[in-house]
């Protein structure tokens, strides 16, 4: 069979567009000159790579204090937002699945809207609300805002999972004498868990890299990692530290995803074994 060069070229281009920027971030985390962003001296001589930016991060350098603070704040916000939106999202999804009616279709529309609403609209409307209620913007307002848009994604993922949920399993549990709570925790929740975890992961990633909404609702001293980086890109000479930190985040995420693949993959293998 003749290999089509066209499709290979398209593949190469797609891969390049997706991954070359990430590779660049990885490479520039080792740039020796943070001001000119160059690996070369004025006379064109190659200087080499430096681990200085990584060292700065691990040493807890004072110049990076604010950057690191914003990083931890981001993790905290994303973690809490994930937790809250998973709980709210699961209950909402169950309610939407179990009861149908006109009110429920409105409910569904309400949950669905944030998915298609522009970030800038969510951000500014939340800010107006907070200002009207005389709430000082800060950690809690960021958290509320993040939960607001994360919940929708969690609900949608769990609803998808609920679509091929076998309701007879619940009836069976009742038949066998289980109460509603027992049924929920022992039958429904475990079966929904993959959906909840998937929704939670989605919520976490959305929360941790949100710039637009956060930049509206954050207050003095509460810069999240993305908003902080956004404000330092133009001027800062510590930019390579951001690259280094981003690389670390990337590695961390890859490990996390790899682990989850391993675990869920293992489970699927087990299941296959059982059905045979």
């Amino acid at each position: 069979m003749k290999r089509s060069y066209f499709s290979v070229a398209v593949l190469a281009l797609v891969v390049a567009f997706l991954y070359v920027p990430i590779v660049l971030v990885f490479v520039y985390a080792f740039v020796p000159n943070g001001i000119t962003m160059s690996f070369h001296k004025a006379n064109g001589e190659f200087i080499g790579f430096t681990g200085r930016w990584y060292a700065q991060i691990f040493r807890g350098d004072y110049a990076l204090k604010d950057l690191m603070q914003s990083f931890w704040l981001s993790l905290k916000v994303a973690g809490l937002a994930t937790l809250v939106s998973c709980v709210l999202g699961t209950t909402a999804a169950l309610a939407l699945h179990r009861w149908r009616g006109r009110l429920q279709s409105i409910h569904h529309a309400l949950v669905y809207t944030p998915l298609i609403m522009p970030d800038i609209l969510i951000g500014i409307s939340l800010l107006m609300l907070f200002v009207a209620c005389r709430v000082d913007c800060g950690f809690w307002t960021i958290l509320i805002a993040h939960v607001t848009f994360c919940v929708s994604y969690v609900v949608m993922t769990i609803l998808a999972r609920l679509q091929d949920f076998d309701d007879r399993l619940i009836e069976a549990a009742y038949d066998l004498g289980a109460g509603p709570w027992y049924t929920f925790f022992k039958v429904e929740l475990p079966l929904l868990m993959p959906g909840i975890v998937a929704g939670g992961l989605l919520a976490f990633t959305l929360s941790i890299d949100d710039v637009v909404i956060t930049s509206f609702v954050n207050g003095a001293g509460t810069n999240t990692f993305p908003t902080y980086v956004n404000s330092m890109v133009k001027h800062s000479k510590n930019l390579p530290s951001v690259f280094a930190l981003s690389t670390l985040m990337l590695i961390f995420t890859c490990v996390l995803v790899g682990l989850s693949k391993l675990i869920t993959g293992g489970q699927q293998q087990q299941k296959k074994g059982k059905t045979k």
Binding site: M37, S38, A42, R52, Y62, A220, Y228, V233
Partner: protein, 390 residues
């Protein structure tokens, strides 16, 4: 090693700042010789105005440009006062203004450019400064900068740092006979495609206005028209409008002449010994003799500042010689602080501080009213839309 002795001198300066803000220095009076002016004038004026409460002075929220205060300056301030300095950053006056306008609260000190301050005062975002509590500022202010600030009486603001707009250029790429100390360099045929201009409406139109002999803040339509024609004459030579990467490009020799800010360019020229960045002798910074624009960033006090006392202490602290010296070395531009400028290495001072004969050429950018801004915007659109280099 310029910075190793810094902690010591900063402590001394801090003690002086504290004295001027009205609290007793913790480590005795051995620092009197460091800033005698601030000590004597300020201590009396500010006595009993700011006393750090028991158990630390709380938090000071500063809203400023990134990399704008030397880290060790902030660190020392925090340690000595038992307070926490929280720095938030913005990347343009407009972004900062929008944030405050939309209800952003909780900041104490903000550092907008001077032309933004009148508007902020009008909107009630900032408060008038208590003149009794900025004694060290008044004492140490270098009066040679007076012509470059809008409000020498410090009613709303205390100047922090100044930036001049000129050219970053590669010394060996300037053709014979071309004068880099003139806006006419932008029309030089030999540099075609090797020039960048700032992506900034005021700076580019300001360049056109200055080159055609008008005031940098001109609002007369005829003057603006002339400026537009001038910029359009340059445009075929201009590779792009860019405010961020020109310094990188000049350093990597992709651009020969880049309109740029003195502080940015100075960082490239001086390098950073500590960070292993070598100085660049082949890069220069030039100011056009027809005139050039100046932007002063000034410290203002937010109207809802929760910790005004600490904010005043901070302003006075910034005006201590050793502190100003450290900040100037960090940002690559002058602070209008006399003892600080005197303390600089002579070479460095010559590089960053404008010589007296150039002062009349420094033109301060002022706020424009809506009608004038409308003219500027239209002119800018025309400049952007007219075809340049391919």
């Amino acid at each position: 090693m310029k910075r190793t002795t810094f902690a010591k001198t900063a402590c001394a300066a801090l003690a002086a700042a504290l004295a001027s803000a009205g609290c007793a220095p913790s480590n005795g009076g051995g620092d009197a010789g460091e800033n005698p002016l601030a000590d004597s004038v300020a201590a009396a004026a500010e006595a009993a105005r700011f006393k750090p409460p028991e158990g630390g002075a709380g938090e000071l929220h500063v809203y400023t440009w990134s990399d704008y205060f030397a880290p060790d300056v902030i660190e020392t301030f925090e340690k000595e006062l038992g307070c926490k300095v929280v720095i938030d950053t913005f990347d343009s006056n407009e972004a900062m203004y929008a944030k405050l306008k939309a209800g952003g609260t909780g900041y104490d000190i903000i550092t907008p450019s001077s032309y933004q301050i009148a508007l902020m005062a009008k909107e009630g975002m900032i408060r008038e400064l208590d003149q009794d509590r900025i004694a060290a500022v008044k004492a140490n202010f270098d009066t040679s900068f007076e012509s470059q600030i809008l409000d020498p009486s410090f009613r709303y603001s205390v100047p922090y740092a100044v930036t001049y707009t000129g050219f970053a250029y590669l010394k060996d790429k300037i053709p014979e006979g071309a004068d880099v100390n003139s806006w006419s360099i932008l029309g030089c045929e030999a540099l075609k495609g090797k020039i960048t201009l700032l992506d900034d409406i005021r700076e580019v139109l300001g360049a056109g206005l200055l080159a055609t002999g008008h005031d940098v803040n001109a609002t007369d339509p005829a003057a603006i028209e002339e400026a537009v024609q001038q910029v359009l004459k340059w445009k075929p030579n201009v590779r792009k409008f860019d405010s961020e990467s020109y310094k990188t490009e000049v350093a990597s020799k992709a651009t020969y002449v880049g309109q740029g800010y003195s502080t940015d360019v100075m960082q490239v020229i001086v390098g950073d010994e500590e960070a292993g960045v070598e100085p660049r002798d082949d890069v220069g910074f030039a100011l056009p003799k027809e005139g050039f624009s100046v932007a002063f960033d000034e410290m203002v006090l937010a109207s809802d500042a929760k910790n005004a006392g600490l904010a005043y202490a901070f302003m006075n602290y910034i005006y201590q010689g050793a502190v100003a010296k450290a900040n100037m070395e960090y940002i690559g531009g002058p602070n209008p602080v006399k003892p600080g400028i005197d303390a600089l290495d002579e070479d460095y001072r010559e590089q960053i501080v404008l010589p007296a004969e150039l002062l009349p050429k420094a033109k301060l950018l002022k706020a424009l009213d809506d009608a004038a801004m409308d003219l500027y915007n239209k002119a800018w659109d025309r400049i952007k839309a007219t075809g340049g280099t391919k």
